[in-house]
Symmetry: C2
Subunit: 219 residues, 2 copies
Amino acid sequence: MNLPAAHKTAKAAPEQVLDAAAACFMEKGYAGTSLDDVARHMGATKGRIYHYFGSKSELLHAVRKHAMGINFAAIRPAYNSDLAPVEKFRAMAQAHAYNMIKEQAYQKALFGSLHLHITGGKNAGNDALMQDFITDRRAFEDMFRDVLQAGQESGDFDIKTISYALHTALTTLNSTLYWYTPRDGDTDKDRRAVAQELVEMALRALGACHNQNPKGNTP
Amino acid sequence: MNLPAAHKTAKAAPEQVLDAAAACFMEKGYAGTSLDDVARHMGATKGRIYHYFGSKSELLHAVRKHAMGINFAAIRPAYNSDLAPVEKFRAMAQAHAYNMIKEQAYQKALFGSLHLHITGGKNAGNDALMQDFITDRRAFEDMFRDVLQAGQESGDFDIKTISYALHTALTTLNSTLYWYTPRDGDTDKDRRAVAQELVEMALRALGACHNQNPKGNTP
DNA sequence: GATTGACAACATACCCATCAGTATGTTTCT
DNA sequence: AGAAACATACTGATGGGTATGTTGTCAATC
């Protein structure tokens, strides 16, 4: 009822807050970021934030939710396809690895929070919200787990312990978050190439030696 | 000159502070940890901390230094050996992966800080201290890089981009920090077995397919 | 079509708890 | 006695949260 007409709407206001929060959480971590920081990052004040989000932890949760939404959307098409395990994994992995490169802000904010939960216990925000997020994360991992399991049973993968293999593969695909610095002149093609190399290594780690990828995949 | 005699010295006082700091930084992150938290964790007060360390960031730096010292000590024997590239990598990787499991507190504190630097820029502590740490970290990575390069040139590894392969391998070996929860009944043997599975996957990711490890390594 | 009023969408100003750092004791050993 | 090894008490600044003010927009009414 109060859409800013059709002036020159850059982006919806709540999403601007989310973007600013993601950027700040990425740069300085959740605890290290003040709401004044977030507000300053978008040229506003705290009033703007509290108008849309009830608290700091709620804002974090919204950022995480947004990030997870992106992640699910990225791999779902491949997951729902009827490809064979190895090829399905390749498609999902490629989409995910590429996604990690492209949405660094949200993903780093998410992983920073995730890291603290795993390691610490009951910190970093409301517990109910955190639990909800853990459930999402679990569902996401299970999509990959399914494919690994299917591939193991069909003999296409050579996996010893599913859990270890799953974490290793996902960690590999996520690894760009920890070392890839976005260049100013990097094209979409570059990013896809990086993702593809990671996918190849992940596939080899899973023991899927018997496939030469035909150079082009999931165009 | 002031060693606490030979009473029942559990541990040197400064190291107690380091341990407490590492534990707190692991649980709640650097920014999320107050020095009162650290003090409370060892049943003392801030006076104790400031008696040995000049500031919070200096304390963080000491924790990182300590962690890096452990890391170097873990892989140096294998690095200085005259093993062939693949076997040298296996030995280094095994030692490192095991080390990550055993020294979780220091390592998580270290990686939390590392993560913020990579992603953020000039935060999380004094910049000179941070630069010193980055140098250490670089030197550590280079030890693995050397072995990868040697293995690539000798044809023992099948690596496309050294940098990507290096990060993938290290990330895999570090990955336990993000998912392995130390059980109460886990023996040293268990930990070594987990490490070994990761090493095998890392080796396969590096294209070192042509070796069946003879079940026992670096005893 | 001008007026009004109600509400969204913020900004400003303020409150209070927390926290890094300091200044000053107090104890214990040598 | 003097210094190491702390504890206690305090300070200034920061930050999450709140309370209140201000502005623009739209819809009903006149």
